[in-house]
Symmetry: C2
Subunit: 334 residues, 2 copies
DNA sequence: AGGAGAAACTATAACGTTATAGATTCTTCT
DNA sequence: AGAAGAATCTATAACGTTATAGTTTCTCCT
């Protein structure tokens, strides 16, 4: 329990306790060059003794620094598999920093610019973490033009110029294709991520080029994406497989999509691992429990969250440095 | 683009534009009784025309109100199934309010009081949303004693006195027991949630009392809980089933636990739906895709998030009202 | 006419922090 | 000895908001 007054200690408390002026205390705690070493030590001792913590509102009002990093989250139909892991790994990485994480939601079918503009214009965060990146994502363009710090989970066409973390969906596509080919598939189909999003192209390119080399037929499902509701994917895949009996391999961009696809395939009596081979992506090792024959590569979302948080801090505190980037290759499970 | 100065508009901007004093503008926007109707209208018109948004730091510094609600999230080994849904539904509910959501993580194996004390002592939120509630949760005791607004996802022994949302795990236990009995089980075992948490007792009680009525053997797995890592559950269940060949029904408190249990059971050659019946809980309808024979009840996490957010706001803005509470019964799927 | 009281505004100060300019003391150099 | 300069501190003001205590103007009553 605090000794002095029962109020929260402020710079003023330390000022009275030490006999120094308030600005001196402030500068001492911020390690300013014009404060004596012994003074700094004394002030710091008092501060930690009485449990002084800077008032965020005071700092924010005076400096404009919010000490907040905002995770901008699309929340339409179903939240993607890994949202929970992403949120918690970012929050955990920020725990021992001065930064708080706020979650700013938006409906992607409305205007994705709204939350971004809101945060920039009201100055309610020091940096943004963006998800579901499009090739020419207008949010990135907007933020770069204003040099507002941000990091993306996924790359854009301006990938050289901004910090990002990305899972290498090109290598995922390649690995999936090669693995399905190894299992004897001759007609491989891709359930693509939403084509607006950048990683759809990486994945498509990876799979296509690998299969061209191998001389295997490659097709992409039209009018459906891995982010669509499970029921729609089930119905679509069931229909597709009855019309395309030669299709013997299916690449899926997420766990939920792979499950839905398998359910659809089994509805039209395809046997996974025999009639039809399926390859998916997952954040936790699960698909082979679901159906042992499913192949999969792992995307480490916790690593992503940790990197994104650190990159955001760097973007805020060292805007001069080259953007921090990380592209993690896909690895076949087992 | 703003017309006046390129700076962000403040009360001062409106003051200059209208010729009124800054406090008058403030009071007009806050609908104070001593401001004329026409003045209020004029001020509001100017405010919306120039896109005035109150500066959060200014309000927070002056009033102490943060306009922040903090979700306190345990982030140990694996994040539970529904974290993503919970986060996004809370954030979405808060989107059209003045409140921001910040995520405060902690390691449950360390001291769960740390984040709570931090937020209360530094005043960095107006209300808390707590998860993983214990029967005599010290966080609840602490917050009630200080009359700091909060809501819990789960009940405590002080359930009468604080707002909560809870899935009725008693009815879940009962429904699971009855359903497994209907399928012919004679020896039913429960993989319990962590016994520290309140809902473990509800679930246990529900299952136990239903099975006593039916005269069916009931047992609880010792030394393991549904929150333990999947591999441990797998190993434990496999071992248990070899030692307890008579066990023919298994109740699991979550999706991941049910999956792990099934994997463990199949490892020792139990056939789900024949040798062993399994009942689980899930946030999205999935388990019966995994193994069609699994029975399940649904827990609607989006509903929880929405309620928790609204209850938090009420706890802040109308502390006099009786605590907002919601207990949602379990419903058998299909 | 004088005063009470209501209505509608303004002046001042304060929340906690830090940037800026200025003050004081002490060295050091010529 | 006197000046220049370094080292270390203080005074003031400002960020945007709102609570509190005025002030002014007008109406109404006797």
């Amino acid at each position: 329990m605090p000794s002095r007054t029962d109020k929260k200690p402020t710079l003023r408390t330390i000022s009275e306790l030490s006999g120094l002026a308030v600005p001196t205390v402030s500068r001492a705690l911020n390690d300013a060059p014009d404060i004596g070493q012994d003074t700094k030590a004394r002030v710091r001792e008092i501060a930690s003794r009485i449990g002084y913590v800077p008032n965020r509102a005071g700092v924010r009002l005076r400096t404009g620094k919010t000490n907040v990093i905002s995770l901008v989250l699309g929340t339409d139909n179903e939240v993607t598999d890994h949202t929970g892991q992403l949120v918690s790994s970012i929050a955990r990485t920020l725990r021992d920093t001065r930064y708080h994480m706020i979650v700013t939601p938006y409906s992607p079918e409305k205007d994705p610019m709204i939350p971004v503009r809101y945060i920039v214009e009201t100055g309610s965060a020091d940096a943004l973490i963006l998800n579901r990146i499009e090739v020419a994502d207008p949010r990135i363009d907007y933020l770069m033009k204003r040099s507002f710090p941000f990091v993306t989970y996924g790359r854009s066409k301006w990938r050289e110029q901004h910090p990002y973390f990305d899972f290498d969906n090109g290598s995922f596509g390649r690995i999936a294709a090669v693995e399905l080919a190894r299992r004897g598939c001759q007609h491989i189909t891709l359930l693509s991520p939403p084509i607006e999003q950048n990683y759809a192209h990486d994945m498509t390119f990876g799979a296509r080029s690998a299969l061209e080399e191998l001389g295997i037929t490659f097709e992409i499902l039209q009018g459906i994406s891995g982010d669509d509701p499970g029921e729609e994917i089930q119905a679509y895949v069931a229909q597709y497989l009855t019309e395309h009996t030669q299709c013997d391999g299916l690449i899926c961009p997420s766990t939920t999509a792979a499950i839905a696809a398998v359910v659809g395939a089994e509805r039209v009596n395809r046997v996974i691992g025999t009639d039809l081979h399926v390859f998916g992506k997952e954040a936790i090792p699960f698909l082979r429990h679901f159906r042992p024959a499913i192949g999969a590569a792992r995307e480490d979302v916790r690593q992503a969250g940790e990197f994104l948080a650190k990159a955001a801090i760097q973007a805020i505190e060292q805007p001069g440095l080259p953007p921090r980037q990380n592209l993690v290759g896909a690895v076949l499970e087992d």
